[in-house]
């Protein structure tokens, strides 16, 4: 189990306490105040509050949560379903794991609020298969909820509010973090993303009206209901309210999780993580997980919110901050990155299946000192024929980090070609 975050706020305030993982301890800490308030209101009023809070999805795309909820059909003769994306597999991201391990009831309370608002009878929490401890924590929490009749035919004693939650384990595939790949996988198929439209609200899990939200997104919801929209919006930025758990990894003194308001300057996040290890100089930072373009040290004053990062050429993604010091060979980073995306491409779109292979081959060739000027220009061209050309955003996710590395560290690539070897002798081993 992960240790509690180094910096806490409302979400992780009790993550140091083991009793917070039990129903009794959660309730003692003020848990279920949000769902109780929600049940005293109409479903529409609840959705309106989530809309007004400005909560944005914490799974990478940053879509407005309340708006997403409002896409669910009001009247439906088919069962409505909520699917929770706990497939966290973005390299650099480990916040959902923390929330599932240390605050499982926060997620489940958020789901029940969503279920009331959307009239959903069933939820599936899809957790990546490798996350054994989070699955245990969630399963134990669901059992406790059932035993206490907070879950079942009349949740929290509310007549007509029927809901059940199923914990479902994935089996090791990055693409299942993509919302429709996840739905295919939940249906017992290969996790190959679907063409949209139709969107999940019309045709989701098992063809039923479905809303998919990330684990962390649901964990914030109880606090919005309990403490109010104003309170929630007093943290973070106008366009990205609230906090998130930034995961800092790589070459820092104190890697780990830091719960901070969205918009916190990247420099401050790095400072809290103890700065670059051994007093070395910073070379680059990937601010939002491996899919997001790298930033050079000159961009450290950027605020960690999507609307602030996008104009600087990157994205918030999942808030996984990967730090690389001056010893780092950026061609090696490109090799590891492109290997990952080649390995995880689901293979259904040509641009992605072939493109990821080309990217990896070219990066490897250059790293081994066998690359030519032509290879480098091909490496520049390949991402542009992948981006925006495929069924899902995976091809973009594979293209962007390579484009970012080429934009800011092209000299590293050129040096390999000029010297016919990797000139970074102190870099991490491949």
């Amino acid at each position: 189990m992960l240790k509690e975050p180094f910096v806490k706020n409302y979400l992780s305030e009790h993550y140091g306490s083991d009793s917070f993982r039990t129903l009794e301890g959660y309730e003692d800490a003020g848990g279920f105040a949000g769902i109780k308030k929600a049940l005293a209101q109409t479903p529409e009023e609840v959705t309106e509050q989530v809309k007004a809070s400005g909560l944005r999805g914490r799974g990478g795309a940053g879509f407005a949560t309340g708006l997403k909820w409002s896409f669910m059909p009001k009247q439906s003769d088919r069962m409505k379903v909520i699917v929770i994306n706990g497939d966290e597999s973005e390299p650099g991201s480990f916040k959902d794991r923390m929330i599932m391990e240390r605050g499982p009831f926060q997620i489940l309370e958020g789901i029940l609020i969503g279920a009331w608002a959307m009239g959903a009878k069933r939820s599936y929490v899809y957790v990546r298969g490798e996350y054994r401890e989070p699955i245990r924590a969630l399963e134990a929490a669901v059992e406790e909820l059932r035993a206490k009749k907070y879950l079942g035919k009349a949740c929290f004693g509310k007549k007509g509010f029927e809901h059940d939650i199923v914990i479902h384990s994935g089996a090791g595939a990055y693409i299942c973090g993509e919302e429709t790949g996840l739905l295919e996988s939940l249906e017992g198929k290969k996790g190959q993303p679907r063409k949209k439209p139709p969107f999940p609200a019309q045709h989701g899990a098992f063809g039923l009206p479905t809303t998919v939200n990330n684990v962390e997104t649901f964990a914030h919801v109880p606090y919005i209901l309990e403490k109010g929209v104003e309170w929630f919006r007093s943290r973070g930025t106008e366009k990205s309210p609230g906090t998130t758990l930034f995961g800092v990894s790589g070459h820092v003194e104190r890697p780990g999780l830091f719960e901070l308001p969205l918009g916190t300057p990247l420099r401050e996040v790095l400072g809290l993580a103890g700065g670059v290890r051994g007093g070395r100089r910073l070379k680059g930072v990937m601010p939002g997980g491996l899919s997001m373009p790298i930033l050079p040290p000159s961009e450290l004053d950027v605020g960690m919110a999507e609307e602030l990062l996008a104009p600087r050429g990157s994205h918030l993604g999942t808030g996984g901050v990967m730090v690389m010091d001056e010893t780092t060979c950026m061609v090696r980073v490109a090799c590891v990155t492109s290997y990952f995306f080649r390995d995880e491409s689901c293979g259904q779109c040509t641009q992605c299946r072939e493109g990821t292979g080309w990217l990896h081959k070219l990066c490897e060739k250059i790293e081994q000192g066998r690359g030519s000027a032509e290879d480098l220009s091909l490496l520049v061209d390949v991402p542009s024929v992948m981006e925006g050309q495929t069924i899902c955003a995976f091809a973009d996710a594979a293209a962007w980090p390579i484009q970012g590395l080429l934009k800011h560290f092209r000299a590293d690539f050129q040096a390999h070609i000029d010297e016919k070897k990797c000139p970074f002798s102190e870099s991490f081993e491949l």
Partner: protein, 153 residues
């Protein structure tokens, strides 16, 4: 497929609006019998789910955590994605390859250990990480890794 495995799988059906939703959990249960899913297991699953064996195999082969070939008695995986690599995971994997005398992806001759590398395991802040028979060992160095491996029978 053992009768008790079949019963466990049948108990899962009601959790999903369509039977097939239970396929991933069902594969885990069949796999638990001997550590991998053989042709008989695939056929039994196909029959139980009303699918063709090839449809089962398609799912089996798509996911990293399902095995359609015999495995070592223990799985030792090292995460080698960027955050772990930055903190020495690849040196650790090379060290284990030399120590166990196998390449990543292979099984030791005595059938004791299948060594592998894996993509991000969500331990970026506690890198490097080993996943041994499903359990995480975080913040490990080579000495730790050797101790962990030596303890496997």
């Amino acid at each position: 497929m053992r009768p008790e495995t079949r019963a466990q799988i049948e108990a899962l059906f009601e959790r999903y609006p369509e039977k097939r939703g239970a396929l991933l959990p069902a594969i885990y249960l069949v796999q638990a019998e001997k550590g991998w899913v053989d042709a008989d297991g695939t056929r039994a699953l196909a029959e139980l789910f009303g699918l063709a064996p090839v449809e089962i195999h398609e799912v089996l082969s798509f996911y990293n955590m399902f095995y359609s070939e015999p495995q070592g008695r223990h799985h030792v995986y090292v995460c080698t994605n960027v955050p772990c690599s930055l903190r020495g995971a690849r040196s650790l994997l090379r060290g284990l390859e030399a120590y166990l005398g196998v390449h990543a992806g292979d099984t030791t001759k005595d059938g004791r250990i299948t060594l592998g590398h894996e993509e991000c395991l969500g331990s970026c802040g506690t890198a490097p990480v080993l996943r041994v028979d499903g359990e995480y060992h975080e913040n490990v160095d080579f000495a730790d890794a050797r101790r962990i491996v030596d303890a496997l029978e």
